[in-house]
Amino acid sequence: MYAFDIERPSTIADAVTALQGEDAQALGGGQTLIPTLKQRLAAPSKLVSLSGIGEMQGVCVGDDGAVCIGGATTHATVSREAAAHYPGLAALASHIGDPAVRNRGTIGGSLANNDPAACYPAAALASGATIVTNNREIAADDYFQGMFSTALDEGEVITEVRFPVPQAANYQKFLQPASRFALVGVFVAKYADGVRVAVTGASENGVFRWAEAEAALSADFSASTLDGLNMDADGMIADLHGSSAYRAHLVKVNTKRAVDAAS
């Protein structure tokens, strides 16, 4: 690591102020950032830790019924506290990484980083979640802008994420054998006004919605509805762990399995 200063504010306002310094960087649970620093692949002058901000912690249910999760809430907390309200989301959180990762990593950190193989982006996009920051609310459909790219401005902090609770949902993750990130992960969420399907791990553009599957499932929420559909391999990631054709194939397999598990 290179040398850096660290601040640990206790309010969102103080964090936002601290992040205005040049080369300042927000630190969530550090599950991506700390290894990056250890590899000397980033050199922020100052880290602003968000873990001491009480108002960004925990899970609650809003007046509209949405599950609201503080931006600095760990995966382990989500898996426990969201279980009664949004079991599909809690199940996803309980399978991110290993216990050490789940006890440190945060939902805000995951969404701000937008790793193309991360789990939370699929849940947020499939749920039509709202990403709440220190100065605005961003719809998930507008938030994800490609691999490691989001609508967040410099110094903007995710303070809360609001998930409308679906009638049924399920996340199917096919593991990349080494990292155990999602080689392909599919989150299916069924709402009164339609079904949303979000795919992570597969695309060179990061998390995306599978429109054809959504249309088919909105008309008939059954796995067999998807039989005639095929995901195009163009634009899918190809690497040591699978070709683009394999990933495209897994999108369909996982979507069907998610529908079976959700219904």
Binding site: A178, L240, H241, G242, S243, V253
Partner: protein
């Protein structure tokens, strides 16, 4: 009733108390007053000419003690190779200089280009970033077959080609084998890859060099499986330090798996630099450095042909293998694809004619050397895969085909130069059929199919040559060292015993199992016996631990030394009991006169040896300490039969191992629990190779599986509960314990059965897949199903 101590008992491993409670003392725990830290600047390109290295800005940075480059090591030797292979034309292998620090040319990603010694590691690392390299990149040599072609870029300009050697074994059989294959009723051919692996011991390598001006003494603390071998190689060949001025200490070592056998540049550097800067110099590998500097394993590309007569008797085997050496020859690299591989190509079968051709290739990759099994897994894999393919082609049961061709009479001289002293392959196969419940497979397959899964059963046999090795034999084959071992049994005045052994324990449990042997011989409690290892200043000598040799070779030396001690103690007892030496018996820690009730306790005899007031001083010396060296008469030949059952998800290609069974013949067993543990670990690594582990380079020589994000290690949930058995015991005929060695068997014996099982599963599902290269990742299995 099972014994609770001595040979055959399973006391819990005493060393685990310190390992599991954080009290182990590893090399990185060693910190010496005045210590400096070295950071190695490593190549990030695979092949380049070094035009210049400008260290001036770096040298001026805070905390920099001294910066070293290849020029500083011109006057010292290169890292040596311990085995000279002679090619099939009678010429010695090509042996390039292996510099401690790259000088003039970079030959693999991760090679050391410069070393910064600093007051702190962070300062050394900061300064390394200020070193300016002027490089001219050259095309990287990665693919072995392309490397062998005329006109290929050469890894070493001063060699005639990239071929280290073209080895034929047994060369005299070449024509006869060709003819037998031509004449065969059926020939099964298989081309396969034995995938390159990274050993990944839990503890990365560490070296701490120390120099004492007062007595001109060098000390190297290092993560080694064999400290005397490091002293020999580094002292005699690299740095020119005589043995009495060089101490090598390998304290607790957190796993080796072969990759900590070898002498590495970092060890020589820290020893050299400690004198140059006159302060201790410490290096602790990061995991990233381990991926690109620990010697890798396997990496063979093979074509094997199995010839049979009309009755399916094996008549000949012919193989052609390209074996990757990497950029330089690591310590035992040249011996792995030859003498540890070609000699095992008979397997458990009485094939009369065998010819093995191996082309060892230099490439711009990390050096490749022994990894758990070393050559024997490569031999077993190709043979057991081609037999399985042959059984399918001939429409016969794969177990029956193996049985039909088993060696059944011992000793058996193979056509590939070794003689199996003993074995019973029918017994281990019968045991396997029992513990694997092979009779119940059909029902389990039906159940899997109900759940939409394809189920497969794969079986294989294996034999290995371990207990390495008879020195006179390996000397004829090119080894540059003897491979005996040594032990000193030091009896203290009050009867407790310290045994100084040349074997090194880094997970094998010697500290528990070796005292069981002494306890059995003398009849005193195991807690009165300690094992001392890992320090050239404390142990007599020793070639270390690898090749499943610790008990068979060093344990034999220990038995010989203990026998000498007992013989002397009997003389003392005879004196105390006023009897004849010949009438003295030792049992349960008591010396007695045969046929009488006269006896004297072990502790009274040992006390007399050190307080010789009433002692036969005119006949024997005081004290009770003996040393023995043991050089084995032959290798030992553990063998067995393994079975794997898998389920394949036809939708995704994902393979899960449902059952794994291993029936091994290790000869006599000292501690069955430790033996089971060794087999468990070996199977985990074999399954890792078969399903998960893949050390991959791109065409530019960049290591693309350079971290755990891309290099898949086996985890607990990848593995089933194993069924292992070692009750089939044909004791080794030529060592005093009748033991054979168990450390590598699991890794040798398991990969073929996994692949055989997957092929069986896919064929049961109507997929005409005859082979999938390891690792059989979900994507590879899916591609194979799709292309079938």
């Amino acid at each position: 009733m099972p014994k609770d101590s001595g040979i055959g008992a399973s006391p819990k491993r005493r060393e685990d108390v310190r390992f599991l409670t954080g009290a182990g003392k590893y090399t990185d725990d060693i910190n010496i007053y005045g210590q400096t830290y070295v950071h190695f600047l490593r190549a990030d390109v695979a092949h380049a000419t070094i035009n210049s290295i400008d260290t001036s800005a770096a040298a001026a940075m805070p905390g920099v003690v001294q910066i070293f480059t290849g020029a500083d090591f011109e006057a010292v030797g290169g890292i040596p190779c311990g085995w000279q292979v002679t090619d099939r034309f009678g010429e010695p292998m090509q042996e390039p200089r292996h510099p401690v620090i790259a000088h003039g040319t970079i030959r693999h990603v991760g090679e050391i280009v410069a070393a910064v010694v600093g007051e702190t590691l962070a300062q050394a690392r900061d300064a390394a970033e200020a070193i300016v390299l002027d490089l001219t990149e050259k095309p990287a040599v990665v693919d072995m077959k392309a490397a062998a072609a005329d006109g290929s870029t050469k890894v070493h300009d001063d060699l005639t080609s990239n071929i280290c050697y073209d080895w034929g074994f047994v060369e005299e059989n070449r024509d006869a084998v060709d003819q037998a294959i031509k004449d065969a009723a059926h020939v099964t051919t298989l081309e396969l890859v034995n995938n390159r692996l990274v050993a990944n011991p839990m503890e990365p390598r560490v070296a701490v060099g120390e120099y004492s001006r007062s007595d001109d003494m060098h000390t190297l603390h290092t993560t080694s499986q064999n400290p005397h071998v490091i002293r020999l190689l580094m002292g005699a060949f690299v740095l020119g330090i005589p043995e009495h001025k060089l101490r090598v200490v390998a304290p607790d070592v957190g796993g080796g798996f072969g990759t900590k056998i070898f002498h590495y540049a970092e060890e020589a550097f820290c020893t050299f630099a400690a004198k140059a800067v006159n302060r201790p110099v410490k290096w602790t590998s990061t995991r990233s450095e381990a991926f690109m500097s620990d010697a890798h394993g396997r990496d063979h590309v093979t074509k094997i042909e199995l010839a049979m007569d009309a009755d399916n008797n094996f008549t000949a085997v012919r193989t052609e293998t390209y074996a990757n050496m990497g950029a330089y020859l690591s310590t035992f690299a040249s011996s792995v694809p030859t003498w540890l591989h070609g000699t095992l190509m008979a397997g458990n079968y009485k094939t009369p004619l065998i010819y093995v051709n191996v082309k060892a290739m230099f490439t711009n990759t990390v050096p490749v050397d022994a990894y758990r099994g070393a050559g024997r897994p490569e031999a077993t894999f190709q043979l057991e895969r081609v037999i399985d393919k042959a059984a399918r082609e001939r429409g016969v049961d794969p177990i029956a085909l193996r049985r039909q061709n088993f060696v059944t009479e011992f000793p058996y001289a193979t056509p590939v130069a070794v003689e199996y002293d003993t074995g019973d392959y029918e017994a281990t196969m019968a045991k396997l059929e029992e513990i694997a419940d092979i009779g119940g497979f059909a029902a389990r397959r039906a159940e899997s199919e109900k759940n939409g899964k394809l189920r497969g059963l794969g079986v294989n046999c294996y034999i290995e040559a371990c207990g390495i090795a008879p020195s006179n034999l390996v000397g004829q084959l090119g080894a540059r060292a003897g491979l005996y071992d040594a032990a000193t049994v030091r009896v203290n005045a009050t009867g407790s015993i310290s045994v100084m052994v040349g074997a090194h324990s880094h997970g094998q449990g010697h500290e528990t199992s070796f005292p069981q042997v002494i306890s059995e011989m003398i009849g005193i409690p195991e807690d009165q016996i300690d094992i001392v290892h890992g320090d050239t200043s404390k142990i007599p000598f020793g070639m270390g631990t690898y090749g499943s040799r610790s008990l068979a070779v060093c344990g034999s030396a220990m038995v010989r030394a203990a026998e000498k001690v007992i013989n002397k103690a009997k003389k003392i007892a005879a004196h105390l009991l006023e009897a004849s030496d010949a009438d003295i018996e030792l049992k349960d820690g008591q010396f007695s006169v045969a046929g009488t009730d006269k006896s004297v306790a072990w502790g009274d005899v040992t006390l007399a040896a050190y307080v010789p007031h009433n002692y036969p001083l005119e006949d024997i010396e005081p004290g009770l300490e003996e040393t023995a060296f043991y050089d084995p008469a032959n290798f030992t030949y553990p063998a067995g039969a393994y079975a794997c059952e898998v389920e394949v998800d036809p939708d995704t290609g994902k393979v899960t191992i449902e059952r794994f069974s291993a029936a091994d013949d290790f000869g006599n067993v000292i501690n069955p629990m430790i033996v089971s543990g060794q087999v468990h670990g070996g199977i985990a690594q074999g399954v890792g190779q078969a399903l998960l582990e893949n050390c991959a380079y791109d065409e530019d020589g960049q290591l693309i599986s350079a971290s755990y994000m891309d290099y898949a290690m086996p985890r607990a949930d990848d593995l089933p509960f194993y069924s292992v058995d070692h009750s089939c015991q044909t004791p080794c005929t030529h060592n005093p314990l009748g033991v054979k060695g168990c450390g590598e068997a699991g890794a040798i014996g398991s990969p073929p059965s996994v692949v055989n099982a997957v092929i069986d599963a896919l064929q049961s599902g109507g997929k005409n897949v005859t082979h999938i290269d390891m690792p059989m990742s979900p994507s590879r299995v899916w591609e194979a199903m799709n292309n079938a």
